[in-house]
Amino acid sequence: MENTLTNSDIYTDSGNLSPRKITVGCKDKNKFIPRFMIGVLLLAVVSLVYLNIDWLKIAGRIPQIGTVFFKLAHFDFGNIGLIGSAILETVSIAVLSLLYSLVLGIVFGMLAARNITKIKWFSVATQSFFTFLRAVPTPIWVLLMLVCLGMGPEAGVAGLCVHTTAFFTKSFAQSFESISDETLEALEVTGTGRLSVFTNAVIPAAFSQIIAWTGMRLETNFSECAILGMVGAGGVGFVISRNLQNYQYGTAGLAILFVFIIAYLIERLFVAIKKKIQ
């Protein structure tokens, strides 16, 4: 008798004592998840209706995609010099903006780190300011810089710097704040000034994290830089957009291939650096 399951032991969908299928999930399911899913589905339907997309008509144009990629794959090496210099310009913009932002990020990160500045409202104000800068996408900053500084790579560097500095400030401040207050206190009681404590204890302790953030950001900066050229900030993006608009698929395709190769190399380089640090 004891080994027989009675109906009352088993929880079923209907909750009554005649089990058809035995429920296997938890008794108290999170009711929010199905509601969330239904909400997402509703939003998707509303968006589709609002945009009035005719997927059937689009489907008819799918062969076009094949044709375009086919044309892109016929590389035109006639403008290789132009593409090469544009790629170099893009990499330079990415590296320069990264270096400037690295220095600025360390300085502002120091100001934004609560355990180093020790003036709470000031740290919060600094962090909030950079959160605002980060909320505005990079292309918009670059467009603003184009208006201020004129066309060319300067606007690209400046625009990228805004976003990258904001990113570094937040991540570096986080790294600095992860250092224990006790360690900082131990140096403070030797009569060491705030800035010396920062350079002699905080920076060395956070160094490997700083390198990791920087490597990660170089990747992002390069790919963002490739987009920025399209709004007129110089670099390979400009070459790609101009050639596509003029139906010079061969040149555009080659430029896109270069972007891909460089992005891949940067990623491999970052992985190698990360391995060396740890």
Binding site: L187, V189, T190, G191, S196, V197, A205
Partner: protein, 260 residues
């Protein structure tokens, strides 16, 4: 002997209303080795931390080496602090740096502006740091990462960093609380030896009554923020111990008379 530290009727009430110190008065002479004992929450740490102004006191006054502690700030506070070494229960080293770099941190307070910021230590300071490490039996580890050391070794680096400051007073906040008995003995021996040789006054917060009795020239007993004993270890009777800890001496000695 000159008095280098004086507590004059010091009280501390924390913002949450806890009274950590009640009218504490005592003075410390050059070269004394004083243990502060008492149960947790009796105010031992508050005493130590108010000396170098990590904690601001509520009333009374502390005088260190001719200066009034409570009025010090900015540059003067830093100059006062560099004359006071401090070692901690958790060592509080910068673990990604070498042992030698950690010891050299002790002289950052004496370096001016840019060379301090850049960590440009003079060759003299480096030699002094190395000889300190040698004295502590740590010279062979000077280029090791501080994170690779054992607890006792880390505390020796902590001592070296504090002595590097050329302090007049050494504050030790539970220096052996995280150590095994044998390392604890080594650390206490070194503390006593190093401070005695240099005529540095030393105030040690201790949980270990036996260590206090063995090493101190004087013991200060605290209970609920009040000094209830201030005298030589030989004057420490069982009654005094009971009034400090609220329990008999036998109950404090784990495993009975092993330390006798």
């Amino acid at each position: 002997m000159d008095s280098i530290l004086k507590f004059d009727n010091v009280s501390k009430i924390y913002s949450n209303g806890t009274q950590a110190l009640k009218n504490v008065s005592f003075s410390v002479n050059e070269g004394e080795f004083i243990s502060v004992i008492g149960p947790s929450g009796s105010g031992k740490s508050t005493i130590l931390r108010s000396i170098n102004k990590l904690i601001d006191i509520s009333s009374g006054e502390i005088y260190f080496d001719g200066d009034t502690v409570s009025v010090q700030k900015g540059k003067n506070l830093r100059h006062m602090r560099r004359k006071i070494g401090m070692i901690f229960q958790n060592y509080n080293l910068v673990y990604s740096l070498s042992v030698l770099q950690n010891v050299l941190h002790g002289c950052l307070g004496y370096m001016n502006g840019i060379s301090g910021v850049l960590g440009n230590y003079s060759e003299e300071d480096k030699k002094r740091a190395l000889s300190l490490l040698q004295e502590l039996g740590m010279k062979q580890f000077c280029y090791n990462r501080a994170s690779d050391l054992s607890g006792g070794q880390k505390q020796r680096v902590g001592i070296a960093r504090a002595i590097m400051q050329n302090p007049k007073l050494l504050l030790c906040d539970e220096p052996i609380a995280s150590l095994d008995p044998s390392s604890a003995k080594t650390i206490m021996d070194l503390l006593k030896d190093m401070t005695h040789k240099r005529n540095i006054a030393c105030i040690v917060n201790l949980h270990q009554l036996d260590a206090a009795l063995k090493y101190s020239t004087r013991i200060i007993g605290l209970s609920k923020g009040t000094v209830i004993f201030d005298g030589a270890p030989s004057e420490m009777t069982d009654d005094v111990i009971e009034s400090i800890y609220g329990t008999s001496r036998e109950n404090l000695m784990m495993g009975g008379a092993e330390n006798e």
